[in-house]
Amino acid sequence: MTDVVISVENLSKQFGALKASDKVSLDLRRGEIHALIGPNGAGKSTLIKQIAGGLRPDTGAVRFLGRDVTALDTVARARMGLGRSFQVSSVIPELTVFQNVLLAAQGLHRRTFRFFGAAMDDPLLRRSAERQVERTGLVARQAVRAADLAHGERRRLEIAMALALEPKAFLLDEPMAGMGPDGSKEMTAILDDLRHEAPILLIEHDMDAVFALADRISVLVYGRVIATGTVDEIRANAEVRRAYLGEEDET
């Protein structure tokens, strides 16, 4: 069982009468991309928040690297190596692309409480930032303020920040959202490469990308995982087709 990086065990979260997570169990294994799909309102983001640490589950547990992290907050989980991107792009708008990535590297290396030397002159952080900016194809844009980036570039910046954390697992919430076909293709290539670095729990609406990337897929409907399996198994699963893929065909 050492292959399991993240395991979610019987997680439940209720908001009033709404069961946002209903006894959810799933795991993320070394080297894989595990896609989490489901219609809007299925509770995907609620689940991601509970895994990342922003939201406490009512019952159940989250294990990360074999350790029960259910009681830890976001910061503690990030420090353990959980790299996260957000559904709505979340970067530091007034910093440049390079500074954003540098900040992530600074978080990893715990250098925040240095008050005198210039952060931008820190060779260790610079090297890390340079590498990630290059990998995500943002070199030409590294001096631009994050607020001035195009949407697709901002999504790539988020990936660069997650990478700079040198995470043990990625938690990516709709990295393709709002991207054109070219952007999606580029992002697919980046993610495809990423799984060797650390496994990815991927929430995504873009079915082409999910089917191209995922090793396994879990389908979440009304807070419950109704199926988990390989791409072919999920495609063939009648319940999934009815609950989710069928709907998509009609629209």
Partner: protein
């Protein structure tokens, strides 16, 4: 060179030139006016760390300004009356040495900022503003009702405290001390902004959730910034008390907190030289408009309204343009 750097140099040169010229033509009043600018600007430099870079709208920085002032007042009054401050467990006497007083002012205001910050930074927005205000008001009423150090009437110190090698009663020499402290503080806060810590502080202001996701705790960063901020403003309070040779509860008043905010806003929030520009403008207005009408603050209010509505970057922002990202 960045345009803001040029604006800063011109501003600093003008700020130093005015009292020097005044000294040559024997106008000590103008030298003293410039000294006030230096000290109030220093208080603003302190607030700017919290407000400008950290986005923490403290409406209670008078607490630190006043604590710095009373640190000076208490130490110097014991020294001038030859009464020990404490006799147990060992004898502690007052002092007339500026350097010791500054150290005490820094420590006292830093400790106060740690306590106030630890409680108030758990909230945000309007609640943060009100809690910081409440702490300053508590100290205000405490000093009013504490007769040992003058209560409502305040505390007079007859001779200005001493600085090694200088005659601090000479206005130009005391100005030099205050200006040196001010520029040291501006230099240090400039380093702070560009440091690892400054990067995290400014990031926490803009997107705290993101900062958490990279493993940095915004609360810790903000608390450290609030402490540094309070210490600088506390030091300004000690100098202000020395300038006037008088401390009173008015230093703790909410008007004082408001004025420090006004310096920062007039000069430009989050601009390195903003507090100096703002304090200089404030004193000039107080001097000129105050000569025209006793209701000059009405005109100040109009100006502030204009700055907030049309010149968001304050004086520095208007002259230097939009802030460029630090490279």
């Amino acid at each position: 060179m960045r345009r803001e750097t040029i604006v800063n140099i011109v501003l600093a040169a003008g700020f130093l030139a005015v009292p020097l010229v005044a000294w040559f033509i024997d106008e000590p009043f103008i030298v003293t006016l410039a000294t006030r600018v230096a000290i109030l600007a220093l208080a603003g430099v302190g607030l700017n760390i919290a407000l400008g870079y950290g986005g923490l709208v403290s409406f209670g920085h008078a607490a630190f300004f006043g604590l710095g002032g009373y640190a000076m007042g208490v130490l110097a009054s014991h020294a001038q009356n030859f009464e020990p401050l404490a006799t147990w467990p060992f004898e502690v006497s007052g002092t007339k040495s500026m350097l010791v007083i500054w150290l005490v002012a820094l420590i006292v205001s830093g400790l106060a900022a740690a306590v106030i910050g630890a409680l108030s930074l758990r909230t945000g927005g309007v609640y943060f503003i009100m809690i910081t205000l409440a702490f300053a008001q508590m100290l205000f009423f405490f000093t009013i009702s504490w007769p040992a150090y003058g209560g409502e009437d305040g505390l007079s110190i007859y001779v200005r405290n001493s600085f090694p090698g200088l005659n601090t009663l000479d206005p130009i020499q005391f100005f030099a001390v205050c200006a040196a402290v001010l520029f040291a503080a501006i230099f240090l806060s400039g380093r702070l902004v560009r440091s690892h810590f400054g990067l995290a502080l400014q990031s926490a202001r803009q997107n705290a959730e993101r900062v958490e996701a990279v493993g940095i705790r915004p609360f810790d960063v903000r608390l450290a910034a609030f402490i540094a901020s309070g210490m600088v403003t506390g030091l300004a309070g000690a100098l202000f008390a020395d300038l006037n040779r008088f401390v009173s509860p008015a230093m703790f008043s909410w008007q004082t907190s408001g004025e420090i905010i006004v310096f920062v806003i007039l000069g430009g929030v989050g601009r390195l030289f903003g507090p100096l520009a703002g304090a200089a403008l404030f004193i000039l207005l107080e001097h000129w408009l105050g000569g025209l009408t006793t209701y000059w603050q009405f005109l100040l209010g109009l100006l502030l309204l204009g700055v907030v509505l049309f010149f968001r970057g304050g004086l520095i922002g208007t002259l230097a343009g939009r802030e460029v990202a630090h490279d």
